[in-house]
């Protein structure tokens, strides 16, 4: 297995590290691209992306972890393409590089948080993406009404569960509850009880349609969420009434990691993530 530094993109200003399978391995036809988690550079939180790249390469996959523009070692863009579009444009450029230089025909995209969002959006727009592994994806669309709707719904469900938990009452009585958040959730739910947010409905419909499109074209989807992470709320709202259909397709795999934080900081949780993605990638690449 070897690693090589690369300058990528139309302006050759994006820095990536290509991890190749061990010498003597068959020519890979499937490439993996690992996408930045927020502004953490391409090694990933706790060096998780380095470990993942090496494990996937050991399976015979060609893996590129790279820094999007303005992140890590990569230069900022010098045009006026907004961030959420640039991430997709750049991922496609990296795919083109791997296709032209290494004959890669199909891609798996992997990412935590914003990296998961980029993998989803790129997959929706580029048919070469055969699968996506999304870890704790949050947001999906930049609209305050959408985020408020999802997160308030999540908090409301959280508080409902805590209503029946005696420890929660003790917290409330001893001033340890986040009163401001609780009040805003209650007010939001009362205000919207008889009126579904139009924006939220439209966003959820749009995203569910795109998700449906991925499943229809047989793209594999691995969703890993830390227990309690708001990504579970986002996916729940997006999938909505179609959740059962998505799950029965056999293409959507969901895993919850108990006790993990948003970026899987602890080594025990990193190892769980690595095993899940390794196994999923092996299945999806060979299908």
């Amino acid at each position: 297995m070897s690693e090589q530094a690369r300058l990528l993109g139309k302006t050759e200003s994006l820095v990536g590290v290509l991890t190749k399978p061990p010498s003597g391995s068959p020519q890979p036809r499937v490439g993996v691209i690992v996408l930045n988690a927020g502004i953490v550079h391409r090694v990933g939180p706790g060096r998780l992306y380095v470990k993942l790249s090496r494990r996937l390469a050991a399976q015979g996959l060609l893996v590129m972890r790279y820094d999007g523009s303005g992140i890590g070692d990569s230069e900022p863009r010098r045009d006026n393409i907004p961030y959420d579009k640039a991430t997709i444009v750049e991922t496609v450029e990296v795919m083109n590089h791997m296709a032209e230089q290494h004959g890669i025909e199909r891609f798996l995209l992997v990412g935590i948080c914003s990296g998961a969002i980029t993998s989803f959006k790129t997959a929706c727009l580029d048919q070469r993406v055969a699968g996506i592994a999304m870890m704790n994806p949050q947001g999906f669309y930049d609209a305050a009404a959408w985020k408020t709707h999802v997160e308030s719904r999540g908090w409301a469900q959280d508080y409902w569960r805590k209503l029946i938990n005696p420890e929660s009452w003790l917290k409330a009585l001893t001033g340890k509850t986040q009163y401001r958040r609780l009040i805003s959730v209650v007010l939001y739910r009362v205000k919207n009880r008889f009126k579904k947010s139009e924006v939220a409905t439209a966003v959820a419909d749009s995203l569910a349609t795109y998700l449906s499109g991925l499943i229809e074209r047989r793209a594999g989807i691995l969703l890993i969420a830390s227990k309690g992470d708001s990504s579970q709320d986002y996916m729940s709202v997006i999938m909505g009434a179609r959740a059962k259909t998505f799950r029965e397709s056999g293409l959507l795999e969901e895993e919850i990691i108990d006790g993990a934080d948003h970026t899987f900081t602890e080594l025990v949780h990193q190892e769980q993530v690595l095993k899940l993605v390794e196994a999923w990638a092996a299945r999806t690449a060979s299908s």
């Binding site: 300058l7 060096r47 380095v50 997709i88 959006k121 419909d205 602890e266």
Partner: protein, 288 residues
């Protein structure tokens, strides 16, 4: 009710004008031993007046590395803009270098600094070499500075000189990051035992090496010139300042209130502009 349509992928947005031509002012590459390559990023000087000193940037270790990466890149760009060639690199088992963190130890990491110095000298062909180092990177840089006569300057940023206190602080940091609820146990484990620190495994032997490090040993000056950076309150800064003065180093001490960005969550990352400016100003004055 007509359903509102939302373009959640922004697919209809134009891609904008053609991008600018490539700017090869920096180069990422692997160097060192073929079986244990290290990752480096070399920044060529951008201005016409190339200074005769190359900066080798030595990162801190573990999770502090991830949190300081952004500031380090900004520093490299500023130094390059001021005319100084710069090499940033990753130690064995860290960042993009080969190996796992468990494979690393202080001896191997110091050897990495030596390899980086050789690589930087080869590329820059500068008369002077200056190591810029943060936290335990600074601890190792002080040792290297004392050994290598071609290292003329040190920038020491909150250097670790009390290994035991550092290990205890790392353990506390891990507990603060990981434990959202305080645990009921009050007994602290033996601080020399192997431990995990915010996603990085610190073996018993690594901990022992860190505790055994004595960067302030010796009475000979490690280098001619030093800039001591203190961000926030640092109990070790006064000791380091005193020792540098006593050994005859030409030392400048610069203090900023903080935050200590190597401990800050990445999504709250702050570029310490004043500190970076102080580094560039010092370089420009000492290596005019």
């Amino acid at each position: 009710m007509r359903r509102q349509a939302v373009d959640t992928l922004n697919a209809s947005q134009p891609t904008g004008p053609a991008p600018a031509t490539p700017d090869p002012s920096f180069e990422p590459f692997y160097f060192g031993n073929a079986d244990q390559p290290l990752y480096g990023c070399y920044h060529k000087p951008i201005t016409g007046s190339n200074r005769d000193c190359v900066a080798v940037l030595c990162y801190p270790i573990g999770a502090e590395y991830i949190r300081s990466h952004r500031a380090y890149r900004h520093l490299a760009l500023r130094l390059a803009k001021a005319g100084f060639p710069v090499l940033r690199f990753d130690y064995l088992g860290c960042g993009d270098a080969s190996g796992d963190f468990e494979d690393g130890n202080v001896d191997l990491w110091q050897r990495g600094i030596l390899l980086a110095i050789d690589e930087a000298s080869r590329r820059a062909r500068a008369k002077s070499i200056c190591l810029v180092a943060l936290r335990f990177g600074a601890t190792m840089a002080m040792t290297i500075g004392a050994r290598r006569h071609d290292v003329d300057g040190l920038v020491l940023w909150n250097p670790v000189v009390d290994g035991e206190a550092y290990i205890k602080a790392l353990r506390k940091w891990h507990r603060d990051v990981i434990e959202t609820e305080p645990r009921k146990h009050a007994v602290d484990s033996d601080h020399r035992e192997a431990t995990e620190v915010v996603g990085y495994p610190f073996s018993t032997s690594l901990i022992e090496q860190i505790i055994a490090a004595e960067p302030l040993a010796g009475s000979r000056p490690p280098v001619h010139n030093a800039l001591l950076l203190e961000t926030g309150d640092d109990a070790d800064a006064a000791r380091v300042n005193q020792w540098l003065n006593q050994t005859g180093v030409n030392v400048t001490h610069h203090k900023e209130p903080g935050p200590q960005m190597w401990l800050t969550e990445p999504y709250q990352a702050v570029i310490p502009h004043e500190t970076l400016q102080a580094v560039v100003a010092w370089f420009s004055k000492v290596y005019a």
